[in-house]
């Protein structure tokens, strides 16, 4: 639409194709690895099933056999923690971003910018060492290895991200539209819920996806804060992994399963990201 780069169509497609190849090839590699025997991996490079190597179902037999319960547990937990925590982080983040975009805060010497700093600084802290303290805190309040604890941890982890991303989107929503909702008889909360949030939809969708991805792929928090019943997929994968023998075929198979939920999330949320929601609202 607006910023159309008037490159020739061919050039555009070529550029995209180059990136696409770069982006997709490793994924392709993962997919075919899931159908290799271990020795095919190390005798490669084999790129084309049936031509280079005979596809094997070894990995899938394990995925649907002896490892099924672990994988299902990991998938279920990851899905629950990631989707719920991302939702909470986005909703809370949206409200906070709205506040930072629309109001002036003054807590002692702290203004809006200091508050944003405090919030985003949580993200700066490298989790590697913090996890030990987190572990102790979680244990004190009995949240270790509990779904609630994990959702809390991921919400904490992603909230700074969502606040930061969404503040910009909030600032772009014309004030008049909100005022219109007030005039039309709606209280602040309803204004935010019915008008502001839908208009921040591309931002919300992006923030949700990023939060989802971060929780989905988190390793260190899950490592420290879960034992068993709340272990997530990355932990399950790591447990299957390479220390003893490089079961890359098996890990790849789980990897294929692991990208399905985030892909679904993208497919569902993509339409919102694309929307040029603010167009047409104002002069």
């Amino acid at each position: 639409m607006q910023s159309k780069f008037n490159l020739p169509k061919i050039t555009r497609w070529v550029l995209l194709a180059v990136w696409g190849l770069f982006a997709i090839f490793p994924v392709y590699w993962m997919i075919i690895t899931a159908f290799k025997k271990q020795r095919d991996i190390f005798q490669g490079p084999f790129l084309f099933p049936f031509l280079d190597f005979t596809p094997a179902t070894q990995s899938w037999e394990r995925v649907f056999g002896q490892d099924r319960d672990d994988i299902l547990k990991g998938l279920g937990n990851s899905l629950l923690f990631s989707s719920v925590s991302a939702l909470i982080a986005v909703v809370l983040g949206a409200f906070a971003a709205y506040g930072l975009a629309r109001y002036t805060y003054k807590y002692g010497p702290y203004r809006n910018n200091d508050l944003s700093f405090l919030i985003v600084s949580q993200r700066i802290m490298p989790p590697i060492v913090a996890v030990i303290a987190l572990f102790t805190m979680f244990r004190t309040v009995g949240l270790i290895d509990s779904p609630f604890g994990m959702i809390l941890a991921y919400t904490w982890f992603n909230l700074p991200l969502t606040v930061f991303i969404l503040t910009d989107f909030m600032k772009r929503i014309p004030l008049d539209i909100e005022h219109a909702a007030a005039i039309d008889g709606y209280k602040k909360f309803a204004q935010i819920w019915k008008v502001v949030l839908p208009l921040a939809m591309p931002g919300l969708a992006a923030a949700y996806l990023l939060s989802f991805f971060f929780s989905w792929n988190d390793f260190i928090l899950a490592l420290m804060l879960t034992f068993q019943k709340s272990s997530t997929l990355p932990i399950v994968i790591t447990n299957m992994s390479a220390q003893m023998e490089p079961r890359w075929w098996l890990i790849s198979a789980v990897g294929i399963l692991a990208i399905i939920p985030p892909m679904l999330a993208v497919i569902v949320l993509d339409r919102f990201m694309e929307r040029q929601v603010l167009h047409g609202g104002t002069r």
Partner: protein
């Protein structure tokens, strides 16, 4: 459907005074036009009434009740924004529905539908109900915005230049219908515009806003015939009134080696104003007329506006097209109708009394 009283409204943005000591009182059901140039404080006044902007000081009464502390959503005001402020994520129908469905309104579904129909027909947007704002033209959006303000009963309806971006035909037809509609609804309406023609056409009363103050608040006729000061006089009327400075104690007007005898004026008179329609123009030399050169001509339908350079003055003259054809650079003769002049003192205030 309230009477409205604005008492000493003041709005400051930092050190800038946007509205200073603004007073206004109107009856229930009146159609008030706030007329003023851009930046005069029209929109701000509406926003203060709606409580979108916070008052710096002053009081607002609806039906003689002080409502300063009542939040926007409970004031029961309707408003059409200059920026339209449509909900871009909803269809036109949902946009119109939204105020009807607000908590506490309890409007039956059938009535909602009827109101939407009625407004959509009035504004000629019935065929657009299922579109989203981004699929509308600018004019269509403005009509939706206006529709959203009109669709529901409100204590006060605030319309911020609601038809400014419509095409001429619609603008014209809507003026009348809008007024009619609001009268039917018995709605108190505040309407802003910089266009005096529109203001006169639609207003029960015009409030002329200059520098955040009401300079004159009266019926359109009074504002036109008896402008309170030079600034009001120049805002009201198109093309604007010719203002000629007078030398102290002057008894005649001298322009281009000719002079015209003035009617008797009070001694404090500093300026006279003559509306463009009150100057006759002749192609040939004429007694009791001053000479000038045509600077530019603008035909406007059956009329024309001619600007004439006369001495140091650039005078606007409005006359019928049939008066003659004038070309740039042509020498013409002008004759004011002294019975219609307005007289202002040195500070620009109108001097009372007729000089006809």
């Amino acid at each position: 459907m309230s009477s409205v009283k604005l008492e000493a409204l003041t709005k400051k943005y930092g050190d800038n005074l946007a509205i200073s000591n603004l007073n206004l009182e109107c009856q229930q059901g009146e159609f008030i036009v706030l007329l003023g140039r851009p930046g005069a404080g029209k929109s701000t006044t509406l926003k203060l009434i709606a409580n979108i902007e916070e008052l710096s000081s002053g009081n607002i009464y609806f039906n003689d009740q002080l409502i300063n502390n009542i939040p926007t959503e409970n004031r029961n005001v309707a408003m059409a924004f200059e920026s339209y402020a449509l909900y871009p994520h909803w269809t036109v129908r949902k946009n119109l529905e939204f105020p009807l469905k607000a908590p506490g309104r309890n409007i039956p579904a059938a009535e909602q539908e009827a109101r939407i129909r009625r407004v959509a027909e009035l504004l000629e947007i019935a065929h657009l109900l299922d579109r989203k704002p981004s699929q509308l033209s600018g004019g269509q959006r403005q009509r939706v915005s206006l529709g959203r303000a009109l669709v529901r009963p409100a204590s006060v309806t605030l319309l911020d230049e609601p038809i400014a971006h419509l095409d001429a035909r619609l603008r014209h037809s809507l003026r009348g219908e809008l007024k009619q509609y609001q009268r039917e609804q018995n709605a108190t309406t505040f309407y802003t515009t910089p266009d005096y023609v529109e203001a006169t056409a639609i207003a029960d009363k015009i409030a002329v806003l200059i520098d955040g103050q009401v300079r004159q608040f009266a019926t359109p006729e009074v504002v036109y015939d008896e402008p309170a000061d030079i600034e009001v006089a120049t805002i009201v009327g198109d093309p604007k009134m010719n203002i000629l400075p007078l030398a102290p104690g002057a008894t005649r007007l001298e322009i281009n080696e000719a002079w015209l005898q003035l009617p008797p004026l009070p001694p404090e008179a500093g300026y006279i104003g003559i509306r463009p329609v009150n100057i006759q123009i002749f192609e040939n030399a004429h007694p009791y007329a001053i000479r000038g050169t045509v600077y530019v001509t603008e035909p406007m339908g059956y009329e024309q506006v001619i600007r004439v350079e006369a001495g140091e003055q650039l005078l606007n003259i409005k006359t019928l097209l049939t008066t003659g054809t004038f070309s740039i650079g042509q020498t013409v003769w002008l004759q004011p109708d002294w019975t219609t002049i307005h007289v202002f003192d040195r500070s620009g205030q109108r001097l009372k009394g007729g000089f006809h």
